[in-house]
């Protein structure tokens, strides 16, 4: 059952008790009685599949509480299995808190897969990785690509099975930050973007919905073929520079959440990726330009 096949009233009721949503290879049980969040989720999660009768890996809650600083104000708190990993947030940031919280839960708990910190898209059954730290514009780039012919795997996590060498899609809401929000609204006016949430820890955030097809195909895995270490530099022309295997190895390994936890398996997985992928540094500013460049590279190989 898809979320958009459920009437809002029922959806809200499910959220009160614990709504189970399939997000890539994981099921997340989300519980909240905070109605504004229910409304946002009803809009932004509408293409996700519910998994009410399945085991959920993550159990998260958003609860409201009185603010310590201002007794007339209410805050929201994120809970993972009843434990609170963060301070509370202003109510308006409930969605951002939920999304960050789920990311944190994945990042700290999952160790049966290699977790690269990377945007991931797929084209012609080949995965393209964009491993990078925040500020490189990977979410923005990823949003554009996923609505322009590439299938979205994730704007944040490269989930790799270290045995098989395959990647699992985990399409989640894409948190656009600050200037990127307007950039994407202009460039992709047709897509669904949630309300702008100002004053978060990362400035203003607005969540872009992944394309419906990407969510529907989120059980289809694929192997990686290209790795681009991206950097967004204002007004630069698109530049692609090959990098050496050893450098790519070190960059990729240091861009993973749990590379060291996996020990020898992580080492072998990264070595495998480097041996089987073409690795480049990518500098860009213009979407059309970067897409044309990527397309050319894909066609060549």
């Amino acid at each position: 059952m898809m979320v958009n096949q459920i009437p809002f009233k029922e959806f809200h009721l499910l959220l009160n008790q614990g709504l189970r949503v399939a997000i890539g290879p994981f099921n997340v049980c989300i519980q909240t009685t905070y109605k504004p969040l229910a409304e946002q989720l009803y809009q932004l999660y509408r293409h996700y599949r519910t998994a009410q009768n399945e085991i959920a890996e993550f159990h998260v809650r958003i609860v409201t509480e009185r603010s310590n600083k201002n007794p007339f104000e209410k805050n929201v708190r994120f809970l993972l299995d009843g434990q609170s990993p963060f301070e509370s947030f202003p109510q308006a940031q409930a969605l951002a808190a939920l999304e960050w919280g789920i990311n944190l839960a994945i990042a700290v708990r999952v160790s049966h897969l290699l977790l690269l910190h990377s945007a991931v898209v797929e084209k012609n059954n080949h995965v393209i990785l964009f491993p990078a730290w925040p500020g490189s514009g990977k979410t923005t780039l990823c949003t554009v690509l996923s609505y322009r012919g590439f299938r979205l795997f994730s704007d944040e996590f490269g989930l790799m099975d270290p045995q098989q060498g395959t990647f699992y899609p985990i399409p989640r809401l894409m948190p656009l930050k600050n200037e990127s929000i307007a950039v994407i609204r202009n460039y992709l006016p047709e897509i669904t973007i949630g309300k702008s949430i100002p004053n978060t820890q990362k400035g203003t955030v607005a969540h872009a919905c992944p394309p419906e097809e990407s969510i529907q195909q989120s059980t289809l895995t694929a192997k990686a073929k290209w790795i681009f270490f991206p950097k967004w530099i204002a007004d630069s022309t698109t530049k692609i520079e090959t990098i050496s295997d050893s450098e790519a190895f070190m960059l990729l390994a240091s861009n993973a959440f749990n590379y060291e936890v996996l020990g020898a398996k992580g080492f072998q997985a990264v070595a495998y990726l480097i041996r089987t992928c073409n690795c480049y540094k990518l500098v860009y500013s213009d979407f059309e330009d970067v897409m044309a460049t990527l397309q050319r590279l894909i066609d060549e190989t």
Partner: protein
Amino acid sequence: MTAEKPQKTTETSNRESTVSTLETPQHTRRKLLKGAATIPVVMTLYSGAALARTSNITGEAANIDTAVFMDTSNGPQLLCVFPDAAQQQISGDTYDLGAAPQATLIQDPKINPIAASADKKKLEQLDACHAQGGIMISAVAYSSIMDKTGITINSTTL
């Protein structure tokens, strides 16, 4: 006997993986290390986990009120974090591949938390932090990374 080519020491015998190299891309031989080949070099990779987590969750504190001040015997001290080491490409022969985020407590100027000057002094500590290339980190970010793999500046008996 050591003049011969290095033996291929890749130990793959215990590799359970079914991964196979189907099509090997054209691999470039441009080296990570540019420059003298006769200077022995070893670089150790530091875990990216902590940095990834900081940046994944939050960034810089929005204002001084949400920054983290640690209580010390010398009054509150700003937690100053040096982020994003992995992105700094230091010019020269090698690439700095980054370390786990480093943090320090700013000691000057000393803050008396109940004095009227406290807010001004807090901002001065922030300047001192910026001068070292650091940022103030929000309390939220701090609490989310306070476990073993994050910045572990504070350890109390709580």
